[in-house]
């Protein structure tokens, strides 16, 4: 049970870790000072949440596990984040669309995780939810601003939503582990979040004058450790210091 719980916690944290890393890449490269600061602030919130999850997982795992070994020293297939969050940064519309599609899910997920019978998970969820509520507000606002903006911004936001849509369904596919954890009331049944999710996403997209993509085939695999070709490069950069100078500390 304990090992399963560790795996489950890491899976939750990995989404925020990898997305936080993607946003961190934009530090100093945002399209304007304000958006640069906003994106890295969101990244900081995500990393803060990740630390809480990993510290708890490390405590359960014992032995030589620490928040740093979990973040930096696992192999690619051991990360269980969804494919959506590892997609590389292209333009600002894409970064916002990726963040928006995750934020809406993240908020719904945390709302449910608050009621977990595991008190630590419930506390982390309650804390994180307050922060994520701001993220959703920020990205929804930008999706609308770009979608309902100029011809150029509209076309970029449409393309971004279209490109990323194939990664949405994976959010709601429960793995065996997720099923077991939700059966024991520790975890969240993500399949139940699906309808509300698309409802909320559609309503923002409608306001943004972006049409809902007509997609029949969806990508999945990240939750089982089968990642897209972008993941290895991301990890190479993220893990560089720990791999090059083992046991380094600041």
């Amino acid at each position: 049970m304990s090992n399963q719980l560790v795996q489950y916690i890491c899976g939750i944290a990995d989404n925020s870790l990898i997305l936080g890393q993607r946003l961190g890449e934009l530090c100093g490269h945002g399209p304007s000072l304000e958006t640069d600061i906003a994106l890295t602030n969101i990244s900081l919130d995500l990393f803060g949440q990740v630390r809480s999850y990993f510290q708890y997982a490390a405590e359960l795992a014992g032995e030589n596990t620490s928040e740093d070994t979990l973040a930096f020293l696992r192999k690619e297939q051991e990360y269980k984040n969804v494919l959506l969050v590892e997609q590389p940064n292209t333009d600002f519309a894409f970064v916002i669309a990726r963040q928006f599609l995750f934020d809406v899910y993240h908020q719904l997920f945390l709302e449910k995780l608050q009621t977990s019978t595991d008190q630590t998970l419930s506390a982390i969820a309650k804390k994180s939810l307050k922060e994520v509520t701001y993220h959703v507000r920020f990205t929804s606002d930008w999706v609308i601003r770009l979608g309902d903006g100029t011809e150029e911004s509209h076309s970029r936001m449409s393309t971004a939503i279209e490109d990323l849509w194939i990664f949405t369904e994976e959010l709601f596919l429960s793995t065996e582990l997720e099923k077991e954890m939700s059966n024991s009331s520790v975890g969240v049944d993500v399949s139940l979040l699906r309808d509300v999710y698309f409802n909320r996403v559609h309503s923002v997209l409608n306001e943004a004058t972006i049409s809902i993509p007509d997609v029949k085939y969806f990508q999945k695999g990240g939750k089982l450790g089968n990642h897209s070709e972008h993941m290895g490069y991301l990890l190479a950069e993220m893990q560089y210091m720990q791999r090059t100078f083992p046991n380094m500390s600041w």
């Binding site: 304000e34 958006t35 600061i37 906003a38 602030n41 969101i42 900081l44 919130d45 995500l46 990393f47 803060g48 949440q49 630390r51 809480s52 008190q119 630590t120 419930s122 506390a123 982390i124 309650k126 804390k127 994180s128 307050k130 922060e131 701001y134 507000r137 920020f138 606002d141």
Partner: protein, 166 residues
């Protein structure tokens, strides 16, 4: 028990109230509502603190500062970090809000007003310099995780607004 009020032993209150928030130096960690409990026990002092935001980089420094301040006053101490109940801007004390305003940071509004202000729907955030409400939102995220950036349209001064967290 009302969680809004921390339980701090009287002997420790002044010591902890002298430890300032590293990112908002005019505010003490007690005024900020970060100290949730401080008790003198058999094995020294145990202090419980809670972060404002999960990723708040000031927490480690606050822990060190608390231990140092207590040591200087002759107490050995342990600092414990808790997440629950989660911090809210309601825990900033009345004199803390005043200190914020004096320092040039607009204090948090109520949750509904905060939402209107941050969506740019209503001009209700008051400029801490000239008190005008003719202010505009520049960015929902400011110099630290807990603040948004505004600008006063009358005195043209940019200023931070401490976001409501509830």
């Amino acid at each position: 028990m009302n969680v809004a009020f921390p339980t701090i032993d009287t002997e420790l209150y002044d010591i902890l109230n002298a430890v300032s928030d590293p990112e908002i130096p005019v505010l003490s960690i007690v005024q900020m509502g970060v100290v949730r409990a401080a008790r003198i026990g058999e094995n020294g002092v145990e202090v419980t603190i809670t972060p404002t935001y999960s990723g708040c980089p000031a927490m480690d420094v606050i822990g060190d500062d608390v231990r140092k301040a207590l040591k200087d006053a002759g107490y050995e101490s342990k600092v414990k970090l808790v997440l629950s109940p989660a911090w809210t801007t309601d825990w900033i004390t009345a004199d803390g809000r005043e200190a914020l305003e004096k320092y040039g940071i607009a204090a948090p509004l109520s949750p509904e007003a905060d939402k209107e202000a941050l969506l740019g729907n209503k001009r209700i955030v008051k400029c801490p310099q000239c008190k005008s409400t003719n202010t505009k939102l520049v960015s929902q995220f400011g110099s630290t995780a807990c603040k948004a950036l505004f600008q006063c349209e009358d005195c043209l001064e940019p200023f931070d607004y401490f976001k409501c967290l509830k």
